[in-house]
């Protein structure tokens, strides 16, 4: 599948996550190459978010290993971020009572060094680093279109902007790979389009993107490659055209076809309806 021949940024192999008797993720392999946008789809409860948590060290995978640019990652979230993987959350997890700017500055944590001592002494080095961090954070707010709201508390932002702020905060850690968990959930069509543009712009900065999404039109527009997860297992992986047409994917989303299954055109109709309806997303959210 690595047709464009570029080096893998992320290489997950044999990742398995068990919660007691439940295997949420079963032996999943996935690579993301530099400059690529990869999509991860699958019905509710397929294990997509769990897989993300395994990649970022929030869960210690029962089996398997995850490596970033050739080095195996320890299962500690802060070390994963330090290495260069940043993420957003399906349920927005901003620092609600910090300002927009402060949220992004927290994202800079791994790229700055100043400890308690230099904060107390406030030498020139400290001031310079603070200034640079602020400048970089403002650039990112500019990039995501939130610069005007830098002083607002993040909890007061409208929903779509909170999602953008989460992306800005993740970008502040200067990642090589960005993991987005349902970035357009709850957005209206215009906002979704804007998010699409934003993700392309991020890719153009040389950051690889792995994105979970239920909005099929969005995913197939955006991604170079799509993997479909069903009941914890990777069902198919390939270009959007391949995945879109795969019988098993359609079956997974609509239930296994039975004797005298509905006609192909009916199927396509249902699929289109599903892809278009934003209400699918809100149902997803409530399921969490």
């Amino acid at each position: 599948m690595t047709s464009n021949g570029s080096s893998p940024v992320l290489d997950a192999s044999g990742v398995t996550m068990r919660f007691g008797g439940l295997t949420a993720v079963r032996n999943v392999d996935l690579t993301v190459n530099s400059g690529e946008i990869v999509g991860l789809i699958g019905p509710n409860g397929a294990g997509k978010t769990t897989f993300f948590n395994c990649l970022t060290g929030l869960y210690v995978p029962t089996e398997g290993k995850v490596s970033y640019k050739g080095t195996v990652l320890p299962p500690k979230p802060h070390l994963v971020t330090q290495a260069g993987i940043a993420r957003t959350f399906q349920n927005i997890r901003l620092f609600a009572n910090m300002t927009v700017l402060e949220n992004v500055l927290v994202g800079r944590h791994t790229r700055t060094k100043e400890g308690l001592f230099s904060a107390l002494v406030r030498g020139p080095g400290f001031k310079k680093a603070e200034k640079e961090s602020k400048e970089r954070a403002m650039e990112l707010l500019e990039f995501t279109g939130l610069a005007k709201k830098a002083d607002h508390l993040s909890r007061n932002l409208p929903y779509g902007e909170q999602r953008k702020l989460e992306i800005a905060r993740a970008l502040a850690s200067e990642p090589g790979l960005l993991l987005l968990d349902e970035p357009t959930a709850g957005m209206n069509p215009q906002e979704t389009r804007a998010a699409e543009e934003l993700i392309f712009a991020i890719r153009d900065q040389g950051i690889a993107v792995l994105v979970i999404e239920h909005d099929m039109r969005f995913i197939f527009n955006l991604c170079d490659r799509v993997a479909c997860l069903v009941q914890g297992e990777k069902l198919v992986e390939g270009t959007p055209e391949v995945v879109q047409r795969d019988e098993r994917v359609i079956a997974a989303y609509l239930g296994t076809p039975f004797e005298g299954a509905p006609g192909a055109d009916e199927l396509a109709e249902v699929e289109a309806a599903e892809a278009a309806a934003p209400s699918t997303n809100s149902r997803t959210e409530d399921a969490q």
């Binding site: 929030l58 609600a96 500055l105 944590h109 400890g115 904060a119 406030r122 002083d151 709850g186 969490q288």
Partner: protein, 605 residues
Amino acid sequence: MATITKNPAPSNDATPGPLVKLPAPGARLATIAGSAVALAGTFMAWTWTSEFPGDLTVTGYPAGLQVLVLIGAALTLLFALSGQGIRGLGWLTPGGANAATRLTALGTLGTIGYTMGAIAAELGGVVNLEPGAWITGIGALIAAVAALALPFDQPYPADDSDPGAWARFRHSLTAPAAPRVSSKLPSWAEILIIVAGFALALIVFTYGIGTEGAEPFIGFLITVGFCFTGANRAGVVSRLTALTHKHRNVALTAAFAAALCFPLTQDNDYFALIGTNILIFATVALGLNVVVGLAGLLDLGYVAFLGVGAYTAALVSGTSSSVFDVQFPFWAAVLTGAGASLVFGVVIGAPTLRLRGDYLAIVTLGFGEIFRITVNNLNGKAGPDVTNGSQGITQIPDVVLFGWDLGQPLDIAGFTLGRNANYFLLMLFFTVIVVTVFRRSGESRIGRAWVAIREDETAATAMGINGFRVKLIAFALGATLAGLAGAVQAHVSYSVTPDSYKFASTAPPNSAFLLAAVILGGMGTVSGPLIGGALLFLIPAKLSFMENYQLLAFGLALIILMRFRPEGIIADRRKQLEFHDTGQLDVPEQRLPPEGGVSATKAGA
């Protein structure tokens, strides 16, 4: 909003009006007249004997509680006149005059009512009241009732069409936030206002410390409570706060200067001792604020770190009751005390901070008790003799700094500073250090990491923050600051005993009071714990007659405060928005995406 304030429609039956129905101009006139009468009454005798604390027998010279009522009545008068539109008073009430008038009028009535009740109860009957008290009482009553008839400062929320009397009463005490204006004053005038503000604060504070007897102090609390809330509603407080934010360094210097002047205003060295103890307590509370307010870690045994610092400094102070035959210079003793606290902080924190949730609270609670019991047992009988057990380490010598013995009175420029005043100045130096540490660490990479951990630990670690490390730094820093204060405390009080470091007792410092000072005062702010600490120190000291009921009253007061002002006395911007997210949104309402958006936000919370 402003137009509605000016054109109230109390006669309109559809909108809920004030509690008392009177035409607004008449009500205002009655308020003015009533408070003028009350004011006049304070110049007359209130009782015939000077047995009642504060000598209220002299005509023409208000004293004690009379001064408090006088101030309350004068403020009511000013606010009411400002509401009348008298030129030159507009600056007093940028946020609306009516709620402020109501509050000060009620406060005045409360103080005079309390005074009359106390006189009658203590001297045996209402016959002990002279006409002056009755005149003031009736004047204050008229003013309060008339003030209740003044129109609301902000219209009643439309969704509740038939509110009960209590709801209307509570609403009548609220006011809209004062409009933010860019001040046109020259900056020297603004600085002058700040200085005046702090001078006023110093006067109020000194007055509170100097009150003799429980009655004047209770009157003081009533008056200050109502008048401060009134000034807050009127919007002057937020104006002043805006100014202090604008000239932050000036404000800090002014606050420091006001504190520096405190011992000079005291001719009684005992009050300077109270001041020193307040400063120690408040400084420790500020140190705890790093742990609780910034990093969000619940530390229930914080006073033990104060104890570690105090005991360590006492052991190396050269007193004959210490087992160590060494005498460190003061600076070395302070460093040793702070260092010992730091070590204990790391030892306690390292194993527990790896865990999430309430483990830290339990472990620190245990540590606090273990410290006290251990110190009690290291008496030569139950264990090795280190701390003299419950006797404690006594006869700690006075601090000598650069050849200056702090135990000796000091004369500067005609003022004599007694021993306690000297220690006040020494402690003030450490308070400034702790304030600086708090501010600088809070506004830095590490401080942001603390707040991020407090807000959402999972998200914070996903942003690359090493949660354990950052929390340990906060915890150890907090312990060190307490140790610093403890080293001074040991010298101030000549002795250290295990019983002064309990989890809860009726007198500060103890862990429960420290935590309460932080929460009451306002978490995450500098001034909050300082004010909360001062209050929590003074109240038990002044109201010692309540002894047996003190903890009960304390608990009740906490519950009431948390019900009505959960963000504490001083709210940082964050907390204010967190608990009262109406009205103050600095984001204009925007259309949310249809249905999905709202539910998803909820689910994501």
